[in-house]
């Protein structure tokens, strides 16, 4: 079902329909993630993909025309690159350990230390918060910077347009 929606998004030339289909795709993706027990990721997918992205894409759609231009040539080379990348990713999943395997490397490398030492080393009672804010502090700082910059860019683009509208009236 998700493949059908994605194909329709590629083929469809009306950008408004593409935005609506993108929201639908996000809801399907979030449902699939819940079925895989990744509840927090599903939550993010639903709020970002179906909520904020739809709103922001509609705001961007207001700045451009509603129909996509016909492509100039046949995009065979990007298609080949996409299929190759997908094939490599599928090949990579063959090397993963079994689903919910307790002996997988991710559960044996640093996770026990996080669980046992986090309180002593950082003084933060919540393990997830300790990992994000202390062990991976610089990583989180970088992510926050990226999100902040993107937010400033979006606000600048949408505000400018509104002020121009008001001057015209």
């Amino acid at each position: 079902m998700m493949a059908v929606v994605a194909t329709a998004m590629v083929v469809q030339r009306n950008l408004f329909a593409v935005v609506v289909l993108g929201g639908i795709y996000s809801f399907l993706m979030a449902t699939a993630l819940v079925a895989l027990d990744a509840v927090d990721v599903a939550m993010t997918e639903a709020s970002v993909g179906a909520g904020i992205s739809t709103v922001l894409l509609l705001g961007a759609l207001h700045l451009v025309r509603g129909d996509e231009a016909r492509p100039l040539g046949r995009p065979w080379f990007p298609l080949a690159v996409s299929i190759a990348a997908g094939g490599v990713l599928v090949y990579g999943t063959l090397g993963l350990s079994a689903f919910s395997d307790a002996d997988a490397p991710i559960h044996r490398h640093v996770a026990p230390r996080y669980i046992e030492q986090a309180m002593k080393e950082t003084g933060v009672p919540n393990v997830v918060t300790a990992v994000l804010a202390s062990y991976r502090g610089y990583d989180t700082l970088g992510e926050t910077t990226v999100v902040f910059t993107a937010g400033i860019g979006v606000i600048a683009l949408l505000r400018q347009r509104r002020r121009k509208d008001r001057d015209r009236k």
Binding site: M1, T54, H62, R161
Partner: protein
């Protein structure tokens, strides 16, 4: 058994809504189809929770419902006013 049948019915409904979203001639067909898909996602989430015997994620379904509402209102407001920042007809425009 009953939950499995419900899941199947919801998936069929979702497929029909997606067909309408892809083919839909007017904007309203597509907005309605998007909203229906979101609602079906909420219900599917709830039913899958009971199907697996762990209905702890019902609150997540409620969050989906709220997001679905926000998305649909954004789509309709965009269509009505052509701009997301436009105040409604009743309110006077804000002075800078």
């Amino acid at each position: 058994m009953m939950f499995a049948a419900a899941t199947l019915a919801i998936i069929v409904t979702m497929a029909l809504a997606i067909v309408r979203a892809i083919r839909g001639p007017t904007v309203f067909d597509r907005a309605q189809a998007g909203n229906t898909t979101g609602t079906m996602a909420v219900m599917l989430l709830a039913v899958i929770g009971f199907l697996n015997g762990r209905p702890e994620f019902l609150d997540l379904a409620i969050v989906y419902g709220l997001l679905n509402l926000v998305g649909t209102i954004a789509v309709l407001k965009f269509f009505r006013y052509g701009d997301l920042g436009d105040p409604g007809e009743g309110e006077p425009p804000r002075q800078p």
